[in-house]
Symmetry: C2
Subunit: 199 residues, 2 copies
């Protein structure tokens, strides 16, 4: 096997390698709002479940140099957010929203997304997304000298477009949520097989 | 849209719903060793990147009632582990290893896996896996009353089977790492498209 030591790599190459090793990654298209009421939307693919009860998720927000991303600043002041799930129809707008824009410019405008009010939290939902998870920040874990913070949030409310509800859960065969890998690659959840868990 | 409040759900149904919302999930097939030298292997799909430099990953380990899983106990005592990436050839053994076995019984034996020594850490690698990430625990984040701990680990060494190395990263089109969804569903990374990031 080929051995690769990360300390021998340029930061950009270490990033490319990591992104190819952790795949496929689910995408949290996170919407927040700042104190002035400007809605923000940004995709994160360092995203995972934490525990099912209460339903809790986490995502990692990288720092850009010394700057905190708008999403993290908004979470620190408002403490709530929505995770919008991304299917193929939403892919292009999500990709546009991943760019860097000034704090007073809304990705909803830039990417042609429609904000729709949440039931419980102040952050808007993205109308074009088939699944919305309204979340409250439980804790933001700063990691010493690591240039990232892990946001842990509890899901207070699930919204699922009727056509994707099946037996009380989301029909992923129909929704085909996008998975991310490195090198600008995305895959639909479509080349599927089943394995029963051991007894 | 259909609104689902988690507090109205049985824990099992909340779990099924969460697992259908966060998809596709990458799989960390984590190998550790206990103080007596018994190797352990268990798959985790609450798994994500944290930061590329230094390359750092995290996964969530649920408690089973009051019990800590073997993986967590081993990490607390030895502080190191290997993340083994799962392709289709490794799927069945990974599934067997996901069962519950006593601490002195090795999943390597149960699932027919071959332990192979790591370069840096004490935990063995799984020879049948195409990619191994040797990791050192950086921190284990206990989350108050949540029944889970988030393990944050730094990758000290990447090993990639020669046939899957391409331009210094992993060729995911060839490797087709498995993605997990709810309901015993797995997908190969194969129904792919590309989108360039915005400038």
């Amino acid at each position: 096997m080929k051995k690769i030591l990360p300390q021998g790599l340029e930061p950009r190459d270490a990033y490319r390698l990591l992104l190819s090793a952790i795949a496929p990654r689910p995408i949290a298209f996170v919407s927040t709002v700042n104190k002035k009421g400007v809605p923000n939307a940004a995709p994160f693919c360092f995203f995972m479940g934490v525990t099912p009860s209460p339903p809790t998720i986490a995502f990692s927000v990288l720092r850009r140099g010394d700057q905190k991303k708008d999403t993290l600043r908004n979470l620190e002041s408002t403490r709530d957010f929505v995770v919008n799930i991304v299917d193929e129809a939403l892919a292009q707008a999500m990709n546009i929203a991943s760019g860097s824009y000034p704090p007073d410019m809304s990705e909803f405008d830039v990417a042609g997304l429609t904000p729709t009010p949440s039931e419980i939290v102040t952050a808007p939902r993205i109308a074009e997304s088939p699944v919305h998870l309204e979340c409250k920040v439980r804790t933001i874990l700063e990691l010493g000298d690591l240039p990232a913070a892990i946001v842990v949030g509890e899901i207070l409310c699930f919204h699922v477009h009727e056509e994707f509800v099946k037996d009380g859960i989301i029909d992923v065969r129909k929704l085909k949520p996008l998975g991310r890998a490195g090198e600008n690659l995305y895959a639909r959840f479509s080349d599927i097989f089943e394995m029963d868990m051991p007894a």
